[in-house]
């Protein structure tokens, strides 16, 4: 497994303006995986990505990248070999990073030159990327005239102009409507399928379940959870979610009864105005008891739903 590690974060501390943003972060990023950084707003996702890019110098710890030598793989600090490292990393932020007054092709060519790629390589890569992101027909359009989705695609294409090993995406789908979001995830998966390691941050946690190979939950300046979506579920005890909607809906009274019943095994709950979301260990056992209680309380069941809780809600419970 060690040979697959492409990036290592060791005991990373980041202070900005005397405020600790990240503390004791340890992380290994594997080749060709999609690692998703999730967490509440201000948890340090962007800072972590910026640090991984070498844009922010940590106050402690280091970020190491795997460097292949004849003797094998050697890990080197990105901060000591910034130029080399950056030539192998692509980046796309929540805001599209290109020149709005340049055309699609001009943008690609410009950034290709910024990576000191030879002209023919730039041309070749531009053609490939225009094809990959379905922008060929729009290559001569001034970026400002493109739609939001096309802009995002171009942003990704630019991030890949130098054919990086790692692609870091900071909130790539923020501000996108669900359709475009889906499209974006599609392209990200497509890029990943070509062997690129992707580190991304997103607040669409639920989407991550289908997109990310691994998820790292950042909260309180630390990574509090790290693993594949399944591993995270397992670690959280494979809880089930029961959603109950009743009439007249005296949910406060009902909750008190649910918590006092050991058969239900209620771990947590969410009280919505029209329903109750219950997090239980075993939905089968719990359901029998719940129906009984509802009958006793003369609550008419309007809706009853059992499902695996989405990750977002699981993280909500955790936080």
């Amino acid at each position: 497994m060690q040979s697959d590690v492409i990036l290592k974060v060791e005991d990373l501390d980041v202070n900005l303006n005397n405020v600790q943003i990240l503390k004791d972060i340890n992380l290994k990023i594997y080749n060709s995986e999609i690692l998703s950084l999730v967490g509440p707003s201000g948890s340090g996702k962007t800072t972590l990505i910026m640090t991984l890019l070498g844009l922010i110098k940590p106050s402690g710890g280091d970020v190491l990248f795997a460097h292949k030598t004849k003797k094998g793989i050697v890990f080197k600090s990105i901060f000591d070999h910034l130029d080399y490292f950056r030539s192998h990393v692509g980046f796309s932020s929540q805001e599209s990073s290109f020149y709005k007054k340049l055309s699609v092709q001009e943008n690609l060519e410009f950034f290709g030159a910024m990576y000191s790629l030879p002209r023919d390589v730039i041309r070749q890569r531009t053609t490939i990327l225009l094809d990959l992101f379905e922008l060929k027909e729009h290559k001569n359009k001034i970026v400002d005239e493109l739609s939001g989705g096309m802009k995002k695609r171009l942003d990704l294409a630019i991030a890949l102009i130098h054919n990086p090993l790692i692609l870091m995406l900071d909130e790539p789908t923020s501000e996108l409507d669900p359709v475009l979001r889906k499209e974006m995830w599609y392209f990200i998966k497509k890029i990943n399928s070509r062997g690129k390691t992707i580190i991304l941050s997103s607040h669409f946690i639920n989407d991550m379940e289908s997109v990310a190979d691994r998820i790292a939950l950042l909260s309180n300046q630390k990574i509090t959870l790290l693993g594949t979506p399944t591993e995270i579920r397992e670690r959280m005890g494979l809880l089930d979610q029961i959603i109950i909607e009743t009439l007249p809906g005296n949910y406060d009274e009902l909750l008190k009864t649910f918590y006092t019943s050991p058969k239900i095994g209620l771990k947590n709950h969410k009280h919505n105005f029209n329903n109750l979301v219950l997090l239980v260990e075993d939905s089968h056992k719990a359901l029998v008891e719940i129906v009984k209680i509802l009958e006793n309380a003369s609550e008419k069941i309007v809706n009853l739903e059992v499902r695996k809780p989405p990750l977002e809600e699981l993280f909500e419970f955790i936080s």
Binding site: L16, N17, S41, G42, T46, T47, M50, L53, G54, L55, I56, L82, D83, Y84, R86, S87, V89, F91, S93, Q94, E95, S96, S97, F98, Y99, K100, K101, L102, E106, N107, E109, F110, F111, A113, M114, Y115, S116, R119, I142, I158, A159, H162, E171, S174, E175, L247, P248, G249, N272, F273, N274, V302
Partner: protein, 664 residues
């Protein structure tokens, strides 16, 4: 690296060109400035000035001055009071106010004046107006001076001629004086020779008197003696006769006695004669005595006269001596006068200028240009070009840098292996290209208006210096752009720096007005140097090799600013990243809050609508129930998106609506 720089330049140029306003500003501004200046100043050196005039009483002189002004295209406006005239300058109605003293004329006892009021807040114009009005006044004064000097000169000339004439008179006077002096000397010697002293005792008049008395006495004695003796003789004779008579010799008697008688008669005659002589002697002695007495009196008178003569002689000698002195003094004065006249003559002879024009204006104070006669546009061109280079370099470089920094693409550039310095260098070269382009356009545009010899060589020389100076300003612009957080700050800083450079470049206020020490420092101002370069090349026809010190100074600026940029680049990058991160966070928060606000607003509206439909007063139709359900589901979907706190806010209301709907 070269390819990267080339791409940066290409990108920046594209961005500039695609921004129409930038393109317009870049290409047309210099043209416009040069054309406007060219058209307005071509062959035109005068200002169109309106001058206010006032006098209690306009004399011929004042009127002549005013008509002179009018001849110089000065629009003259008459005012009824000095205050009105001065106020007009303050309000800008007129550019200057000229006040003439009443009945301005030239007289010794009359203190005439011409007072000028100008507005120094329009510094350059004030000097130009002052210069123009004073020139007219000077010409007027010169004419008057010339007339006065003409009069004065004719008097001097007459005096000179008279002096010539008087000079011979003076020589005659001197000669006469000499003669007079010698006469005085002769008189003096003659007078000195005269000795009015006489010792009258030497005359021994008393002795004469005594002698006369003695003679008288002696003659009396002799006479009496003689008489006595004669008497004795007579007696003796009588005795003899008697004796002879006794001799009775008749013969003897006859012989002797007659004889004795005769003798006796003789004696008697003798006695008588003696007596007569004695009387005569006595009378003569008496006469002699009276003569002596008279002589004595006369001598006394003479002595007195002699005394008076002596006094007169002494006085005369004194007068003669005084006269001599006076003559000597007069002679000295004559000599002095002669000397003075000689000197005066000599000085008059030495005066080589006898033309009133020359005296009124001894030197023809012509301000000759050190360069061949040029149009005003040629003289102004260096300043215009310097300002253009300054503004274009500063503004484009700082704007391009700000555009780069404000562009979201910059963060991507930061993670490429290309250093920010390369991007800055790209911006530097892009701006330089624009400046060179503008310089070329400007020069080619105004070339027909400029009387420049060897245009092509000068074009190249100035191009080299343009590159040097522009580089300095571009680096300043890049430093400003790099250190500014926003475009606004960058623009303000650019304007401020440009303003400072202009103020201390001598373009507005002459550097010579500053203390000498400060002047030395201010002459290091890169804008001053730029203006100096263009001046040397286009106006003074000086070759580059003659101004190595100034070129070296500008080169030092170039190197210094480049080093500063290299040293500060990392700091700028770090600052940018922090600011970028803060901006991103701020944007995210803003976006979230905006979205939330939009959602809560929508939800509130839906709830209001639902409450209206479900109000107990209304009789709800099936259609309305369906509509309420639809709105409820909409509200529900919005509610799900809200955060915990906001959900709590809407929970009760939605819960109530839910219950109402369920009841239906």
């Amino acid at each position: 690296m070269l390819q990267t720089i080339f791409e940066v330049i290409r990108k920046d140029l594209r961005l500039l060109i695609r921004s129409r306003s930038s393109l317009l500003i870049i290409l047309l501004t210099p043209l416009l400035i040069l054309l406007i200046t060219g058209v307005s100043l071509e062959k035109q050196t005068n200002f169109y000035i309106t001058a206010g005039v006032y006098s209690d009483s306009y004399s011929h002189l004042a009127k002549s001055y005013i008509s002179n002004l009018e001849m110089q295209s000065v629009n003259v406006k008459y005012f009824d009071s000095e205050k009105e005239c001065v106020d007009a300058v303050k309000y800008g109605t007129v550019q200057a106010c000229i006040v003439f003293s009443p009945d301005l004329r030239i007289e010794d006892k009359y203190n005439g004046f011409i007072k000028f009021y100008v507005d120094y807040s329009h510094l350059n114009l004030a000097w130009a107006i002052k210069d123009m009005l004073f020139t007219t006044a000077q010409e007027e004064t010169k004419e008057l001076s010339q007339n006065l000097i003409d009069d004065l000169l004719s008097v001097v000339e007459t005096a000179n001629k008279n002096l010539d004439l008087q000079k011979s008179d003076l020589t005659n006077l001197a000669t006469s004086n000499d003669k007079l002096s010698s006469i005085f000397s002769t008189i003096s010697s003659y007078l000195s020779v005269i000795n009015p002293k006489f010792d009258f005792s030497l005359l021994k008049l008393d002795d004469i008197e005594d002698s006369a008395s003695s003679l008288k006495l002696k003659s009396s004695g002799v006479v009496s003696l003689a008489s006595n003796k004669l008497s004795e003789v007579s007696n003796s004779l009588d005795e003899l006769k008697s004796s002879v008579s006794q001799i009775n010799d008749s013969q003897v008697n006859s012989l002797i006695l007659p004889k004795i008688d005769k003798i006796k008669t003789d004696i008697i005659s003798y006695q008588q004669t003696i007596l007569a002589n004695k009387n005569s002697i006595d009378s003569t002695a008496g006469e002699l005595q009276s003569y002596i007495e008279n002589l004595k009196n006369q001598i006394n008178n003479l002595s007195k006269i002699l005394d008076e003569v002596r006094i007169s002689q002494d006085k005369s000698l004194e007068y003669v001596s005084d006269g001599k002195k006076q003559v000597a003094n007069i002679l000295n004065s004559v000599f002095d006068l002669q000397k003075s006249i000689n000197e005066l003559e000599k000085k008059i002879d030495q005066v080589s200028v006898f033309s009133s024009g020359k005296i009124a204006e001894p030197f023809k104070t012509e301000i000759e240009s050190v360069t061949p006669e040029k149009h005003s546009i040629t003289l102004l061109f260096p300043t215009i070009l310097s300002l253009m280079v300054l503004f274009v370099s500063l503004i484009i470089s700082s704007t391009l840098l700000q555009m780069e920094k404000q562009s979201e693409a910059h963060i991507r550039n930061l993670i490429t292996p290309t250093k920010t310095l390369i991007i800055s260098l790209g911006i530097f070269l892009t701006t330089l290209i624009v400046v060179i382009l503008q310089y070329s356009i400007s020069l080619i545009t105004v070339a027909p208006m400029l009387s420049i010899k060897g245009f092509f060589l000068k074009f190249l020389e100035a191009l080299l210096l343009t590159i040097l100076s522009s580089s300095v300003f571009i680096f300043i612009g890049i430093l400003i752009g790099s250190s500014s957080k926003s475009e606004e700050i960058s623009l303000i800083l650019t304007a401020l720096v440009a303003l400072l450079l202009i103020i201390f470049s001598g373009m507005i206020y002459p550097l010579e007005a500053f203390p000498r020490g400060l002047q030395m420092v201010l002459k290091l101002n890169p804008l001053y140097l730029t203006d100096y370069f263009y001046n040397q090349i286009f106006v003074k026809d000086v070759v580059l090799t003659k101004i190595p010190l100034q070129i070296l100074t500008q080169l030092c600026w170039f190197v210094g600013l480049f080093i500063a940029l290299v040293l500060l680049q990392e700091l700028f990058d770090e600052k940018f990243l922090i600011s970028h991160r803060n901006k991103a966070l701020h944007k995210k928060k803003k976006r979230n809050s905006r979205v939330e606000n939009e959602e809560t607003e929508k939800l509130t509206k839906l709830l209001v609508e639902l409450n209206h439909i479900l109000s107990p007063k209304n009789k709800i139709t099936t259609e309305e129930i369906e509509n309420a359900k639809r709105l409820y589901l909409k509200a529900l979907s919005i509610y799900q998106k809200l955060d915990k706190t906001q959900k709590e806010e809407f929970f009760d209301e939605l819960n109530l609506i839910h219950k109402k709907l369920s009841a239906l």
